[in-house]
């Protein structure tokens, strides 16, 4: 422990040199920009910037790329809250309550709590990274395909709590999401499904164009049909979370930190699932679950904390085992490699100076992000005072550029516009969008882990119940399902006229 602290102090010494501090600052700013621009996600953003780091020394290069990564995690929030367009995939869920808060004149509070939650999540996850990294990452490895499948199933069952007013509408949307996720080349056998011979469909519908359409374009259409929308006035008091909002957020922030960090340890989870898990947990625990979606601060604080905590937790498998747990981390690993460094336990012995400087820079980066973002909150919130016809045109342009920039594909533009119309209709018909998005995310992962499990067992389904972890999660799923059925049933019987 003393030794660890010593290492960390040396690391701070390196991270706080003016040069490395500048790299961390540049990284945070670039990352925030990447997060704000939809389409260019953190993975593509960091990859594009790798050549830039060839000119730097290894420590500076890694510090900058890592800063871009968690900067992007925060930046995505801004557009979600302001214009209902997720800047990157991990901010999708923030659209639900973040944008609703903005409409209530509390954009500042939403952005503020996101910045603070991200800061706490990032900081605590980094401390956990230092303290418990190695033993936990070994444990996370025992999380194989059957356990993964069981976890996804728990997520899918929990989705009932995202259903909004009607359980049936929620289930329908989940299934629709799962169905859409089947489009494209079969991940295991390689056969095209529902592609109608269109090569662009071989890779399925892009996640980002779909969610930008459903949320961003759908929002534009829904607002545009109203003849006039009053400019949202944000009073100064709206910039900071109120005492009550603080109280409600703290629990969400701590839970978000835990969820993000632990899911970060399991390679392959990705940044989106922790945010959804956190949202679902908050809604389940809330005394007023029916208010979620109307601008509840817990619905912003939890997921936003979870995504930054995840970003730091996901560094654990990279640094201790050399396994990248998400596409962005894979790019970061590529950056380590082309700079002559091989992530893994060996790196701790070979280059402790570098590893600890990078870890120390996580602390520094989290502080920098907070300092950068809190003063800007007021400025961002001002954007909402622009008359809506201009915001509307700007948002549309922004979405078009974002959707096109992912693959330089015009096809993606049509996907986004098509989904925009669908999103508008679903909104009109009062169907919830969140279960659809969760189905879309869980679909491929569930299918992959189900089929890999069965390949491992040569087709024997008992693999799911003979492994203790998988069996207990399946049992949990059943319990949740029964509870959900009990919770929904009496309500609908009691009050059949409820929507």
């Amino acid at each position: 422990m003393v030794e660890t602290l010593q290492h960390l102090m040396t690391g701070f010494g390196a991270a706080l040199t003016p040069v490395n501090l500048t790299f961390a600052l540049i990284g945070c700013i670039l990352g925030t920009l990447i997060g704000v621009l939809p389409g260019i996600g953190p993975a593509a953003g960091t990859a594009i910037l790798i050549p830039l780091t060839f000119q730097l020394d290894a420590t500076g290069a890694i510090i900058m790329l890592a800063a871009i990564y968690y900067g992007a995690m925060y930046g995505g929030t801004i557009t979600s809250v302001l214009i209902n367009v997720p800047g990157e995939a991990a901010s999708v869920i923030t659209c639900l309550d973040g944008h609703a808060m903005a409409k209530n004149g509390r954009a500042g509070a939403a952005l503020g709590i996101a910045a603070i939650g991200s800061f706490i999540g990032g900081l605590v996850a980094t401390i956990l990274l230092v303290v418990v990294a190695t033993p936990l990452s070994k444990l996370a490895l025992s999380f194989g395909p059957p356990e993964f499948f069981a976890l996804m199933l728990v997520g899918l069952v929990l989705v009932t709590s995202l259903a909004g007013e009607s359980l049936i509408a929620g289930v329908l949307m989940t299934v629709l999401g799962l169905l859409i996720s089947l489009i494209g080349i079969d991940p295991v056998r390689g056969a095209p499904r529902f592609t109608f011979g269109i090569p662009e469909l071989y890779d399925g519908l892009g996640f980002i164009p779909v969610v930008m359409g459903l949320f961003g374009i759908g929002e534009i259409l829904a607002t545009a049909e109203k003849p006039y929308r009053e400019v949202i006035k944000t009073k100064l008091s709206g910039l900071i979370p109120s005492r009550d909002e603080w109280r409600r957020s703290m629990g969400a922030i701590w839970r978000g930190t835990g969820i993000g960090f632990f899911l970060g340890l399991i390679p392959g989870v990705g940044a989106i699932i922790p945010t959804f898990m956190s949202y679902i947990v908050e809604k389940r625990l809330s005394k007023h679950p029916e208010l979620f979606g109307t601008g509840v601060i817990e619905g912003v604080a939890g997921p936003e904390t979870a995504n930054n905590s995840y970003a730091n937790g996901a560094m654990v498998p990279l640094l201790t085992l050399g396994i990248p747990s998400s596409p962005t981390i894979a790019v970061l690993m590529g950056a380590f490699i082309v700079n002559g460094l091989t992530p893994g336990p060996f790196l701790f012995q070979e280059r402790p100076d570098l590893v600890w400087a990078v870890i120390a820079s996580f602390f520094v980066g989290n502080v920098l992000l907070l300092i950068l973002n809190l003063p800007l909150v007021g400025l961002w919130a001002k954007i909402l005072e622009i008359p809506y016809q201009y915001i509307c045109a700007g948002t549309l342009l922004f979405c078009m550029i974002g959707a096109y920039s992912i693959n330089q594909s015009v096809f993606d533009l049509w996907v986004m516009l098509g989904c925009g119309v669908i999103g508008y209709l679903l909104r009109k018909l009062n169907f919830p969008l969140a279960p659809l998005v969760l189905g879309l995310i869980l679909g491929p992962q569930m299918e992959k882990s189900l089929r890999t499990s069965l390949e491992m067992s040569a087709g024997d389904f008992s693999i799911f119940v003979t492994r203790p972890l998988s069996a207990s999660m399946l049992a949990l799923a059943i319990v949740i399902l029964v509870l959900a059925a009990l919770q929904f049933a009496p309500k609908e019987i009691r009050d059949p006229n409820a929507d």
Binding site: A43, A44, T46, A47, I48, I50, P51, F54, L141, S142, F143, G144, P145, G184, I185, P187, V188, R189, G190, A191, P192, G197, P199, E200, Y202, D203, G204, P267, G268, P317, L321, G322, I323, P324, S325, P327, A330, V331, L332, M333, G334, I337, V338, N339, G340, T342, P343, G344, P345, F346, L347, N407, Q408, K448, T452, E455, M456, A458
Partner: protein, 324 residues
């Protein structure tokens, strides 16, 4: 008469203009398509060579990631591009070949759709296990696959990847040995499941595991090349182990659409071969565990055709194997 003069003049202009266009090439940025997402080993190699070659050729070389469908999306794009030298891209042999050969994939390109330009990397196949695995040698693995056929869980990095074909080659060389093939998506998933004990033996490429071998987490058992890898000098080749026909690699080279101007191809070959021989290129690729293998013109074309023939046999076999 006037018409004839005009015709002669037009022909003359055309004759002068054609080489002039090749001489001016390139007058605008060149797109280099990588059929995999940013950050993979093809992408790393592409970005390193593009960064060096663009300084030599005087125009930016932009790496464009067109990932998806195991490379098929990017290769479709490359095959459809104008053969003007402004769109070139990486082919990954034999993955490009198996995509063409598997009728289920319905590829709209075939082996004649590309102009091979230059090869960059030949990353040999490798068989490896977790450090705590009971398998100490390749022989242990094969004995187990013979004594209890269909129980040894062997991972690929994707269906019809070079690793998948390599498993079939090992089975072919050892009659009676049958693996339980598990297709995982990519090297990271394979590393996770093998270290986690969900996979008994993994088939990948040297470049994917050098860091973990050095870190002592995994043990390489055999390399599928004609000679030992300089990154794993202690690991025997399959030839040394009595399986001379088990030769497999992932080979990455640059190609364009079919019908490119030979002068443009020549120019690209000159610049790219110079860039690949550059000390910076060599060092960065070696740090990443990627073995450089420059093949130009007829050499590369021959290699491309041979790989295709070989892939044909194993793709058919893979499709007809009862447990796929």
């Amino acid at each position: 008469m006037r018409l004839l003069k005009l015709a002669i003049a037009a022909t003359a202009v055309a004759l002068i203009a054609a080489p002039a266009m090749a001489q001016q090439y390139p007058s605008r940025p060149i797109n280099l398509i990588v059929a995999f997402p940013a950050g993979g080993s093809t992408d790393i190699g592409a970005r390193v060579v593009a960064g060096i070659a663009e300084r030599m050729i005087g125009q930016p070389i932009v790496v464009v990631n067109k990932g998806g469908a195991g490379g098929q999306v990017g290769w479709t794009e490359l095959a459809r591009a104008k053969p003007d030298g402004y769109t070139i891209g990486f082919l990954n042999l034999p993955a490009t070949n198996t995509t063409i050969l598997d009728p289920e994939r319905q590829a709209i390109f075939n082996e004649g759709s590309f102009t091979p330009i230059i090869n960059q990397v030949l990353d040999p196949g490798v068989v490896w296990v977790a450090a705590n695995s009971p398998f100490k040698t390749m022989k242990d693995v094969i004995d187990a696959a013979k004594s209890k056929p269909g129980t040894v869980r062997a991972a690929t990095t994707g269906i019809l990847s070079d690793d998948h074909l390599a498993i079939l080659m090992v089975e072919e060389a050892n009659p009676g040995a049958t693996f339980r093939i598990v297709h995982l998506l990519g090297g990271a998933a394979q590393m996770k499941e093998t270290l986690g004990g969900n996979i008994d033996v993994s088939f990948d490429n040297v470049g994917g595991i050098v860091p973990q071998v050095r870190g002592g987490q995994v043990r390489a058992l055999a390399v599928m090349d004609i000679e030992r890898s300089k990154f794993l000098p202690d690991v025997p080749t399959m030839k040394e182990l009595g399986m001379p026909n088990v030769i497999s690699s992932s080979t990455r080279g640059i190609a364009g659409p079919k019908g490119m101007d030979p002068a443009v191809v020549k120019k690209l070959q000159d610049v790219l071969s110079k860039a690949m021989a550059d000390a910076d290129h060599v060092k960065r690729l070696e740090d990443a565990g990627l073995a450089i293998k420059i093949m130009i013109g007829a050499d590369y074309e021959k290699y491309y055709k041979e790989t295709h023939e070989k892939a044909k046999k194993y793709t058919e076999w893979a499709k007809n194997r009862p447990q796929k």
